[in-house]
């Protein structure tokens, strides 16, 4: 694996980032479409507008109702809100100057380390497409960079390219066991679980726990993998560990995984 060429990196579908753009284009199309319909049949344009307005009002009311019900029924609503706020805050307060500097430096001299640095900073700034380009180039120049494999795996996992993500995580772990404090191993387990390789996922996540200790995230994912593999008692144990109150102030991410574990326990008849 170490000497093999890295798997081809494909741009992910990036559905969440494309949604606001699609909404903008749709909203922009409406007046022109109504204008075109008006030329042929003014009454039809008015009818379409009335029906569309009524539909939009109903859709908004249904969305508001669904949001209210979700807030009441789903225990992770508060944790999810806290996570969303933390992510937005982080995204808006990420320093972009180092990325600009790194891109500038790359124009003078190309090296795998510099591409890796640009990829790392682009991931921090939320520019995953740019990050993929540079991580792929870094791996072309030096396929034995565990950090590039790890970051590419993270980006691909987020984009839904599970098989490629799993290969990158495994490559990172093979090149440097325990890379990023076990994060590559942890995400390799997650990618395997999402690919339906439950036994492999359980093996990787258990290995991660043995070598790096458990966190709310790893316990939750291990519980999920065990439940899918049919070990419900083991799953409940892992979820209970994940849902345990933290010693100090938990981060927004840890709080989110803890809340998810509580939901799993609630649904599967256990208690935290």
């Amino acid at each position: 694996m170490a000497d093999a060429a890295p798997p081809p990196v494909v741009r992910g579908p990036r559905v969440p980032a494309a949604l606001p753009l699609a909404a903008l284009w749709t909203a922009a199309a409406v007046p022109f479409v109504l204008g075109a319909v008006h030329l042929a049949d003014p009454e039809l344009a008015v009818r379409l507008h009335q029906a569309g307005s009524a539909w939009a009002r109903h859709a908004l009311a249904a969305l508001a109702l669904a949001a209210a019900v979700a807030l009441l029924l789903l225990p992770p609503a508060r944790a999810g809100l806290r996570l969303a706020v933390a992510q937005a805050q982080r995204r808006l307060s990420t320093d972009r100057a180092p990325l600009a500097r790194a891109l500038g430096e790359l124009q003078h001299f190309e090296s795998p380390a510099r591409h890796l640095e640009v990829g790392r900073l682009a991931v921090q700034c939320g520019e995953t497409e740019r990050a993929l380009v540079h991580l792929r180039r870094a791996l072309e120049l030096d396929p034995r960079l565990p950090a590039a494999h790890h970051l590419a795996g993270r980006v691909l996992l987020r984009a839904g390219h599970l098989a490629q993500a799993r290969q990158h995580f495994l490559a990172a772990e093979q090149l440097e066991p325990g890379h990023a404090f076990g994060d590559a191993l942890l995400h390799a387990g997650r990618a395997a679980a999402r690919l339906g390789r439950h036994d492999e996922a359980v093996r990787l996540l258990t290995e991660h726990q043995g070598r790096h200790g458990g966190s709310a995230q790893s316990q939750l994912w291990l519980g999920d993998a065990l439940a899918t593999a049919g070990d419900h008692a083991g799953a409940r144990h892992a979820w209970r560990q994940a849902a345990a109150p933290p010693a100090g102030q938990a981060s927004a991410e840890a709080n989110w995984y803890r809340a998810l574990a509580r939901v799993r326990l609630w649904r599967h008849g256990g208690s935290a």
């Binding site: 753009l21 909203a27 922009a28 204008g35 008006h38 003014p42 009818r47 009335q50 972009r96 740019r130």
Partner: protein, 281 residues
């Protein structure tokens, strides 16, 4: 004031706009403006803008409804304009003022009663405030860095207080304020002060927002689902069949029903077209 005069060559657009404010205020009546003159010089109503007078989207931003209105807006322009014009350049500043004025006017056309007139540069001035926020967002190492400084925080407070005043006072158009604010912010963020290293999606955002602005402008100048516009189109159409369909569509748009009955037509005619006619039983 002396400082402004000494640096007039650096801020020509700000000074010309202030001059336009003052001279038009004298023409339309400084203390008590004459409504007919305000209408003639370009006040904005959604009805007139859609009735073949689109220039009102811009001209309303140079007219004012009295001495206090003029003094407040003139002071605000002289506070915000010079720094922004020096920062962006005069041509870009001019484009910003025009875009924000049109943005405020478009918001009014889409959301106001059709015969409600508005005047005043405050929509455009809110656009300048939005532009200042966008420049601050771009100038820092990250988007929220400007919040660590007192001056920029005071700018946000100024915007919030002015919006609050707009909500409290019934004769102030917060619709135009918000339209101008959003336009100024977006235009500056995407066009006038773009990032040095734009992301791959930056052009897509530019194209989508430009398309949305064009669509809103189209909807305010050709409101094909608004009763007044449909009725006027019908009145001007020579083709009898087309006229009938346009007028039926006008009645449908006014009544909110998906067909126009004879009773609806009668009510529409008496209540909208000829308001002096007695109400039907």
């Amino acid at each position: 004031m002396r400082s402004l005069w000494h640096h007039a060559d650096e801020i020509p657009v700000t000074l010309v706009v202030v001059l336009a404010y003052v001279s038009l205020a004298f023409v339309t009546g400084l203390a008590e403006p004459d409504a007919e003159r305000l209408a003639a010089y370009g006040w904005l109503t959604p009805l007139l803008a859609a009735d073949g007078e689109p220039w009102r989207l811009l001209t309303h931003a140079f007219l004012h409804g009295g001495l206090v209105h003029l003094a407040f807006n003139g002071y605000m322009l002289l506070q915000v304009g010079p720094a922004l014009e020096r920062s962006l350049g005069s041509l870009r500043f001019l484009a910003l003022y025009a875009a924000a004025a049109i943005g405020g006017g478009v918001a009014v056309c889409l959301l106001y009663p059709v015969e409600q007139p508005i005047v005043g540069g405050s929509g455009a001035l809110f656009g300048l405030l939005g532009a200042a926020v966008a420049v601050l967002v771009r100038s820092g190492r990250h988007a929220l860095e400007f919040l660590t400084f007192d001056g920029p925080r005071a700018l946000l407070s100024l915007i919030a207080v002015n919006l609050l005043i707009g909500w409290i006072l019934p004769f102030v158009s917060n619709t135009a304020h918000l339209g101008g604010l959003a336009t100024g912010f977006v235009v500056t963020l995407l066009w006038l002060a773009p990032p040095r290293q734009p992301s791959p999606r930056f052009r897509q955002w530019r194209a989508a927002t430009a398309a949305l602005f064009a669509a809103l402008l189209f909807a305010s100048l050709f409101p094909v689902v608004r009763h007044d516009w449909l009725w006027n189109q019908g009145v001007r159409t020579a083709d009898a069949d087309r006229r009938e369909r346009l007028q039926r569509a006008a009645v449908m748009a006014w009544s909110g029903r998906d067909h126009a009955s004879e009773a609806d037509v009668l009510r529409f005619y008496r209540l909208v077209v000829d308001p002096d006619a007695p109400r039907p039983r």
